[in-house]
Symmetry: C2
Subunit: 187 residues, 2 copies
DNA sequence: TCCATCATGTAAACAGTTACATGATTGC
DNA sequence: GCAATCATGTAACTGTTTACATGATGGA
């Protein structure tokens, strides 16, 4: 049985919340611009694939969380999006407070997942794994710091705050891998 | 057109690598036991749903990365798994070195995702968001430290190392949110 | 005898990726 | 005129979740 038209208040998924947030901060943006944001992001979590974004925009419009303005562009249409009052309400609900406990839970880290199983490698490979990890993390941190330096102006307060989070966590990962390497050598 | 039987060397997905690693460290385990591990884990990344694990075990057996032993249990069969030589090889390849750059990339953090959009909240709600986040992160850290204390013995070296990673990152998140709250107040 | 736990699985739905396909606009 | 970029979309596929369904074993 298909669910009745627009169940109104199923809570937002992470991608939906993120897209709604982007539109809220960049009113009048296109789906393409939203994609670009995901594509440029250093997080590998979402690809920003067209197949994810375009259908999602339609869905958010049909749920009346976004409104769309269509301007003709030859045989095509250019669509720009703005958040509605209902959309802002849903965005705020998604943001919290209150925050769901899982939002603070341990996050997925492919390096950590692999760490559990390093016993399967030879001692030499383990060392190489750890130094490889440090090298990659350091280049990541460097790039993140460079990005931070380019975020200027009072409007960028929350962007900078978030970026400082990525840096803090990357630096914590570096210290952690280094510490593990030391512990391994002095075992 | 279905792809030709067992393409042998498509590289492992994260879940496949993880399952292979678990079987390598717990030879003779059941699919059920692997599920339990995911279900108990504090990371919300995988649910450990039966619909993910059971078909995956079959796939890994058909790729000859795992071998299965079947023992009758009434009208059912109990299946225990062991890693094969080919499985160990694939596991090592998945673990690295060399590590792919994306394994060190910024990880997904629902708190950070929300942080980008806090301008959409009232000042009071922002403060509440941040203190809520700290509270949740601290209870997470406490639980993680408790788990660490229970990991004893020389066999648990890598489990402890990974757990120390979760703690280090959670503590970094706490400092980051606290710092953001301070910056916000003195803006 | 009954309950908790161990154990195995499937079917439908869903979210997101990959790969493809196309057109419009702007600047050189 | 041509290339880069802006822009919109679809179809097939894949990997997961959700929800359901069932049976065996061991201990109180």
């Amino acid at each position: 049985m298909p669910r009745a038209n627009a169940p109104v208040s199923t809570s937002l998924s992470e991608l939906e919340g993120g897209v709604l947030g982007i539109v809220a901060t960049k009113p009048g943006c296109t789906a393409h611009a939203i994609r670009e944001g995901f594509l440029r992001s250093r997080s590998s979590h979402w690809s920003g694939s067209a197949g994810a974004i375009y259908p999602l925009m339609k869905k958010l419009v049909s749920r009346e969380l976004l409104k769309v303005e269509e301007s003709p562009r030859g045989s095509r249409v250019r669509r720009t999006y703005t958040i509605t009052a209902a959309g802002t309400k849903e965005l705020r609900r998604w943001l919290g407070p209150p925050l769901a406990a899982w939002t603070a839970a341990v996050t997925y880290d492919p390096l950590r997942t692999r760490m559990y199983f390093l016993a399967a490698l030879s001692p030499a490979k383990r060392e190489a794994f750890l130094s490889d990890a440090v090298r990659l993390l350091e280049s990541e941190a460097k790039e993140l710091r460079r990005e931070l330096r380019e975020m200027r102006g009072p409007d960028a307060f929350w962007d900078r705050a978030a970026q400082e989070g990525t840096i803090a966590i990357t630096e914590a990962r570096i210290r952690w891998v280094r510490k593990t390497a030391r512990a391994l050598r002095s075992r």
